[in-house]
Amino acid sequence: MDPAAPFMARVAMKARHFRAALGWGGAFGGGVLLALLCACLLAAPWVWSDGAYDRQDRAARHLPPVWWPHDDEQLDRLRSAARERAAAAESTLRGIPAEALTREAWTPSEQQVGQAMPSYLLGTDLFGRDVLVRCLAGGSVSLAVGLLAAGISVVVGTLWGALAAWRGGRTDALLMRTVDVLYGLPYVLLVVLVGVAADGVLDRIQESRSREARRQRESFVAASIELAPGDARTRASAESQALELYGTGALPGAFAQSVGMLTLAVAIGGVSWLTLARVVRGQVLSLKNRPFVEAARAVGVGPVRLFMRHLLPNLAGPVIVYATLTIPQAMLQESFLSFLGIGVRPPLPSWGNMVADGLGELNPVRSNWWLLVFPCLLLAATLLSLNLLGESLRAASDPRARTR
């Protein structure tokens, strides 16, 4: 085909022959990725609502996957978990508190225990949390951070590089030397710096909020005491009333978690746009001397429109390819940082901190291998499929590679 054809048109044409367009690697990558994404998205409502990813069942801790042979000790734990569940079911059925059952020395029948036998597809961890649920939740955290970071890096990198090449001269020198300097900084340091800065801001907000709440509570209490002086019970009741009205001013946990994730994405995105800026700069340098740019000028297209409508769309090919390869890179960095304990913070799961936990549980007596293997497998499959997909997109966009 005509090598001058635009990238997207080439991909579209080739997509009619899907195998030829992306090859088996791309098809496999796309398939695995799609399956994982679907699983995470479909699971999202029940994983995230009322914190299912952090629901603990102490009796059921350290259980292997349900399809794995259990030893006696594990079977004991399984049965004790089942007994507890059966008791809980009985107490709700009869409408009496669990302590009442204990007092009358109620024991579940064999049938009740069998029914209440928990089945964890991928086993449970130290706190009796479902590994499958945590894997799905961790996957969506990892994907979200990866996508967000890649998005940030694409936007910043494209604009930065394009602006440098378009303006040329001093602007170019200034922007690209900045890139060189940032290249020299270790990115872990940057991520930690951004994280600490965000924490500082959060702390300050938290502090001012709780100070404000305390002030309101105190004035409320003072006003109540003035209204009914001498009553001994006034103070305590006014205080509890004030607490109900104004709260402690603590930020909701979900807010802090989202801010943490956002910070991580910004930090990773903020260090991974550098290469893209260089790639885009090179592209724009060659594009801006192409005759169609001058032809567009000659029909009266202004500089802004020229940049937005004529130049940027021509960058779509390399940018899309690069973005596809940036997502796995960002996800890997997220996992790596979480593994080190400076990324996603528990109890929020991420494949990285789950791997770190699993590694800590590994010991010669009890391997507890499922805590390590499943997050690792999922992470590897995702990275592999994204890399295959990006690589075949890159191959499809390379005119020289299409003579096979």
Partner: protein, 352 residues
């Protein structure tokens, strides 16, 4: 010959363009170019590579960058009742209104002059919307009309296609469609047929000719081929080293060239009837051999840049008009007219 309106549409006066060099004095790419262009007329600017003909065309639209206008004016007169506007002094939106609106330009490389990721119809419609106050839908229908006007089959379908789906000749016709969609008064065609094969060349030139006739568009045809002058130009200017050497109606310049360079160029064209196995002579040799002749110049010495007599370096050159409507650049001397320079320009157009 017919009498066109007495006002020239465009009057270029003493245009000079410099290109700055890093470690040297600026390079003067265009020096003292002066001519008049009348509506409905095709002016061919003929010259070899680097003679400054393209820069002259680009300067009119303010696109000479990185070149710099050193001096000169380009006066635009919409009609005799309008005041003249100097194109070279316009900046920003003012000059952008001319680009593509009143003065359209066609470039040499049709293969690369269209944006590869924009549909052809959208590119034409964009040009229309930039210069006329029409809705997106109307602009699109005008784009389709323009494609039909340049004889592209199934214009509705082709407007939705991308440039790589067109052949070279078709792309050049698309460029022309884009140029005419806003109904410009002047069309600058910068070597429009150089990259095309002979058949397609003829189609494109016929198309430009038809526009000139039907819409009274004035055409500046920049070319290095004297063959185009014969069939497609009303007046011709021969350029070398950034200066106009000779300016005359096309017939005159082909039949009675006065400047040795023009004579040499014409002699370089191989003819079918000439002697067999004769070596084609180079222009440089020919200019030397022809130079002492020049009977029509009445004693003036024709200007030629390859002469580097010490005395010539500081000598001025001047355009003289030895016969009516025929200008030649000669070395200035006592016999030359002084005070003002002649402005070449002839109000001739071919009858349709």
């Amino acid at each position: 010959m017919s009498r066109a309106p007495a006002t020239p549409l465009l009057e270029v006066l003493d245009l000079a363009v410099d290109f700055d060099r890093r470690d040297s004095t600026p390079l003067r790419a265009v020096e003292g170019v002066t001519f008049r262009l009348y509506p409905g007329q095709t002016l061919a600017i003929v010259g070899e590579s680097g003679s400054g003909k393209s820069v002259t065309g680009l300067s009119l639209l303010g696109l000479q960058s990185p070149g710099r206008i050193a001096r000169g004016r380009a006066l635009w007169r919409e009609s005799s009742s309008h005041d003249a506007e100097d194109l070279l002094s316009l900046r920003g939106d003012a000059i952008r209104a001319y680009r593509g609106g009143k003065i359209a330009m066609i470039f040499q490389e049709p293969m690369t002059s269209l944006n590869p990721v924009m549909r052809v119809g959208d590119q034409i419609a964009e040009a229309v919307r930039l210069h006329t106050d029409v809705s997106a839908r109307d602009a699109r229908s005008r784009a389709v009309d323009a494609l039909a006007a340049v004889a592209i089959d199934e214009p509705h379908r082709r407007a939705r296609e991308y440039p790589h789906q067109f052949s070279g000749g078709m792309r050049q016709r698309v460029m022309i469609a884009m140029a005419i969609a806003c109904r410009p008064r002047v069309l600058i065609a910068d070597e429009p047929t150089t990259a095309l094969d002979a058949t397609t060349q003829a189609q494109v030139l016929t198309l430009i000719d038809r526009l000139r006739r039907e819409q009274r568009v004035a055409v500046i045809l920049i070319t290095h081929s004297l063959g185009l002058v014969a069939g497609h130009a009303d007046v011709a200017a021969v350029m070398h080293s950034g200066r106009i050497l000779e300016f005359a109606p096309a017939n005159t310049i082909l039949a009675r060239p006065l400047h040795p360079y023009t004579v040499a160029l014409l002699r370089c064209i191989p003819t079918i009837r000439g002697p067999i196995r004769q070596r084609l002579t180079t222009v440089r040799d020919l200019v030397r051999s022809v130079e002492p002749l020049s009977p029509g110049l009445a004693g003036h010495r024709p200007w030629w840049p390859n002469e580097f007599h010490e005395a010539d370096r500081t000598r001025a050159t001047v355009l003289i008009e030895p016969e009516e409507h025929h200008w030649v650049r000669v070395w200035a001397d006592s016999k030359a007219p002084r005070g003002d320079w002649a402005i070449p320009g002839v109000q001739t157009t071919r009858i349709p």
